[in-house]
Amino acid sequence: MLDAAILGAVLASIVAAATTLLLASLGELVAERAGTLNLGVEGMMIVGAAVGYATAYGTGSLLLGTLAAILAGMALSLVFAGLAIWLATNQVASGLATTILGLGVAGLIGAPFVGTRLDGAPALKVPGLTDLPVIGQMLFGQDAFVYASLVLLAAVTYGLARTRVGLVLRAVGESHAAAHALGHPVRRIRTLAVMFGGACAGLAGAHLSLAYTPFWASDMTAGRGWIALALVVFSAWKPLWLLAGAYLFGAVSILQLHVQGFGLGIPSQLLSALPYLATIVALVAISALKRGQGAPASLGVPFVPDR
């Protein structure tokens, strides 16, 4: 039997693992609701991880590292935006290019830091509550990234549904021609949405290299950016469903580690493949159930004003 302390620790680590995915997928959801499919998430995330780590290591400040990671993610997202939005190139190819470039740049930035370690972001404790059995550590013993991701989720959910900015952004994603005719600057709005996505991916990278595993390793994102993209599809472009998806995937990736630890004779590679297989299953399930419902109508279609 699992005792309460172990269960509490497992639940807490699921939340931590889910946070990277939640942050990155929130940003991508906003970009996609404005009509742009950015396959550069993996690249922006790993650049965030590398720049964040290098900055934090050099300055000794996790806050500066996090800010630098956000800016780095945004900077790379501008490369994508320049191509896909302003030059109207193919979005799939542009996103792939962004990811390939990001992996290379991150490797160059991170190379001097291989083998070093940082003190990761500390858990923020609430006296009394953190020591609650089972759920204490999960709810009240997490680092600032976890709470930030939940605040961001609330902000994006509210912002998209209830504010004028959100309304315009969704209009641009549903019908760029109509939004253009109404006088909304379609490409500028899409660029801002993509930059928000870049900032979130950079923040997710910072969470990875400054809190979750506080060191740098090349290719440390290990496909999380792609899983974040799949989560957006899984959520049917609704922010609250991202929470469910991200925590489900966090659970799969943590539980497979624990099963590996028990040594039940299941090949560790099969267990390591579970998050990727689960992604495929989730994509198939959601597309079989919904048949693409919820996707912004202009998603992936470049806007070229012809007037």
């Binding site: 030059l87 290019a97 290379g104 190379a111 090949p267 495929i280 994509l283 806007f303």
Partner: protein, 358 residues
């Protein structure tokens, strides 16, 4: 912003051919900046990276050895991308082909099986890659799932599967516990083309694939239905082309060529199964396909250029202690540059009077 892109009606062939050159020049400029930032003399670095490998007969051979898998996979991807199907999991299909083909090499190991082993391995490799590639095609046709994400997820699954095999059931029992299979027998190895170096028969198969693909894509109804299915899906439907068959077909072709490239690499330069059998050929081939403008002959040229970034990267790792990531930066920049250059030659940037937002 008072700038606007204007599509030009009659773009000359010369202008279109200019795009890859423009992209190369841009990439070299970015590369020079990168070398300066990294604290290296860019002239010397370019010499080691791009000129040195071309002067040495051994590295010239290596250039072709590395271009082989790129142009084979890239040619297959051209089928997909022309049809607007985004197979980005060629790396996984490459691994699947290598695994399935190697199975035969391992079960015939130490027996006196005849010279049929290698051809049978190649066929099995192609089948293995095709089957792996048909998974995302099936999921797209049957359920409408995005082939982009499923094909990519299957890369990780294939790599982990290979890892399991070479650390588990297929590990060489006399291999001092190294995670690799036995070395293939002589009848399971690609023949070498020259007395010295590693140039092997794979390049001939790759060139055959290029010739066949050029013919199929350019001169047959199949090629036409792929092209129309990608650029004008509604017109293709009215013309009676079956969208599902196109999806299955292009994924089977690109998977088969990627799988063939995988088994050739394992039966050629590598010689056995190991946890890592590719320096990212499946992803770099995406760039080769784009840079070669989805035309098999163009992809041959593009693959040679990209192979040079691999060889140059290896040289720079040794003589300048530059990390291999320099090569990835070059490859990523090249893809960005070719996408941008394509627009630049087709459109003209024009200043517009008055206010124009959007």
């Amino acid at each position: 912003m008072p700038l606007r892109l204007e599509r030009q009606e009659n773009v000359s062939g010369l202008r279109l051919a200019l795009a890859p050159l423009l992209a190369l020049v841009f990439t070299l400029i970015v590369g020079a900046i990168m070398f300066v930032v990294l604290g290296h003399d860019p002239i010397r670095a370019f010499g080691i990276y791009f000129v040195g490998p071309l002067l040495d007969p051994y590295t010239l051979q290596e250039l072709v050895v590395k271009a082989g898998p790129l142009l084979m996979i890239g040619t297959g991807l051209a089928f997909c991308y022309r049809a607007n199907r985004w197979n980005i999991g060629a790396e996984g299909q490459y691994v699947a082909g290598a695994v399935v083909g190697s199975w035969l090499a391992l079960v015939t190991h130490g027996t006196d099986a005849g010279p049929w082993v290698l051809p049978a391995m190649l066929v099995m490799g192609a089948l293995g890659g095709a089957l792996w590639g048909l998974i995302p095609a099936f999921l797209r046709v049957r359920f409408g799932s995005s082939e982009i994400l499923t094909s990519l997820m299957l890369v990780y699954v294939a790599q982990l599967g290979l890892d399991y095999l070479v650390r588990g059931p297929w590990k060489d029992p006399d291999g001092f516990n190294f995670p690799q299979s036995v070395t293939f027998d002589a009848n399971a190895v690609m023949p070498l083309l020259m007395d010295e170096g590693r140039l092997h028969g794979g390049i001939i198969l790759a060139l055959v694939a290029v010739v066949v693909a050029t013919f199929v894509l350019g001169r047959t109804l199949v090629g036409y239905s792929i092209e129309i299915g990608g650029s004008a899906p509604r017109a293709a439907a009215f013309a009676g082309f079956d969208e599902r068959r196109v999806t299955y077909g292009v994924f089977a072709v690109s998977g088969a060529l990627a799988g063939l490239a995988g088994i050739i690499e394992v039966a050629g330069p590598i010689g056995n199964l190991q946890p890592s059998i590719s320096p990212g050929y499946g992803f770099t081939a995406i760039i080769a396909a784009m840079l070669g403008r989805l035309h098999p002959v163009g992809i041959v040229v593009a693959s040679l250029v990209l192979a040079l970034t691999y060889i140059g990267g290896e040289a720079a790792q040794i003589s300048m202690r530059l990390p291999f990531d320099v090569t990835r930066v070059f490859q990523g920049t090249l893809l960005i540059a070719i996408l941008a250059a394509d627009v630049m030659v087709r459109y003209r940037v024009r200043r517009v009077e008055g206010t124009s937002h959007a």
